[in-house]
Amino acid sequence: MARLTEFSESEQKHHLDKIRDLPEFGQTPFVSGPLLNKRRVAIVTTSGVHVRGDRPFEIGAADYRVIPGDTLAGNLIMSHVSVNFDRSGFQEDINVVYPIDRLRELMAEGVIGSVSEFHYSFMGAAPIRALEPKARELAALLKKDRVDAVLLTPV
């Protein structure tokens, strides 16, 4: 049900207005890498999920939280500021938002090479331009961890 035509008029307007307000991104970068079964994969979610006890996200927050790969599902909570998306799925099963168990299965099957030790979470309602410096910082950390495949997952 994320077809824009199935949204209410005000929801459609909200999402289309976001397109109007987008900054200019320039040419799309496209970085090549090794075969999929050799790649090291990390999840970067914009769901506002984080470890229980970490600082919850605030309105407009453009920083990120670290999710260690061995974090148990029971220690993950969500402090996204938006109230306009479903949370009942995440409450039932973290993998519908943050597919860490499925990623490990793909590694066990040899589809991907390995899973990063660390994953990261932003809060998607942040102003777009404010994300750039933190994204750069994150890219440097991902490279240190030899990650060559980042999965970006929204809510």
């Binding site: 991104f25 790649r39 914009t46 599902a73 402090s79 938006s82 009942s88 793909l106 495949a149 999965l151």
Partner: protein
């Protein structure tokens, strides 16, 4: 989301993203994107359906095998509906009374929290987890914090560095999570939209939240006003409210 694809890949790290709003992704043109026709909040389709989640994930990682981009591909299938029931709480109702009886709604919410406790406990036991916890206290304390606003004597935020708005937001988020988790354990196996409709149309908590929203909108506290406008009540509810506003007539 697409912006992060640009920013991270520009630094030399390949990315592939799930797209929930195709039109936005098409405008941003990130390096690799898989559009999925799922509801917002469920980028991998359906909870407790590992096979389906794996198919989505597999389609996503497969985008790394492309030799050129940008790539925006469609995932072919809708999320499985499962056994959950959509019906039961879908009747439109008026939200108007919620704005008049704030403190009454607070007491009713606190009673409701007590009545839901066995179902919340069951949900927590069955799932082995709860997502309540952003307020950093019990749900009763979160409810007390919300009630203090409706009683006209707001409590101070419970932690240093928290604004009034942040404290109210986190208290309300925990209360809502508690209700959602509790009702999901009850007989009826409600679908997500039915849970949402139940909460916003049937519960005293929703009426308390609507009363809090009114307080926020009229507050001089800079942290409360944006909360009232955007981050407390979903648009599908505020749309209904605006239909109830007195129409402005030109003289």
């Amino acid at each position: 989301m697409g912006a992060l694809g640009h920013y991270i890949e520009r630094e030399g790290v390949p990315t592939a993203q799930i797209s929930l709003i195709r039109e936005q992704t098409a405008a941003i043109r990130p390096p690799r994107a898989l559009w999925v026709p799922f509801m917002l909040g469920r980028p991998f389709g359906a909870p407790n359906d590992p096979e389906f989640q794996r198919r989505v994930l597999h389609a996503l990682v497969s985008l790394f095998e492309r030799s050129a981009g940008p790539v925006l591909e469609n995932f072919p299938d809708d999320a499985p509906a499962g056994e959950a029931q959509d019906s039961g709480f879908a009747c439109p109702v008026s939200f108007a009374p919620a704005r008049a009886e704030g403190d009454g709604h607070a007491r009713a919410m606190q009673d409701e929290i007590g009545r839901l406790a066995p179902w919340y406990d069951l949900a927590k036991k069955r799932r082995g987890r709860t997502t309540v916890g952003v307020f950093g206290a019990t749900v009763k304390e979160a409810a007390r914090h919300v009630a203090s606003y409706l009683d006209g004597a707001p409590e101070s935020p419970p932690a240093a560095g928290w604004s009034a708005g942040i404290a109210v937001k986190r208290a309300c988020d925990d209360i809502k999570a508690y209700y959602y988790e509790a009702v999901a354990a009850q007989p009826g196996n409600l679908a997500p939209k039915a849970i949402e409709n139940w909460f916003w149309r049937e519960t005293a908590a929703a009426k308390a939240f609507l009363a809090i929203r009114e307080i926020c909108l009229h507050s001089t506290d800079e942290s409360l006003m944006p909360l009232g406008r955007l981050s407390l009540i979903p648009r599908f509810v505020t749309d209904g409210l605006s239909e109830l506003e007195p129409k402005q007539h030109r003289a």
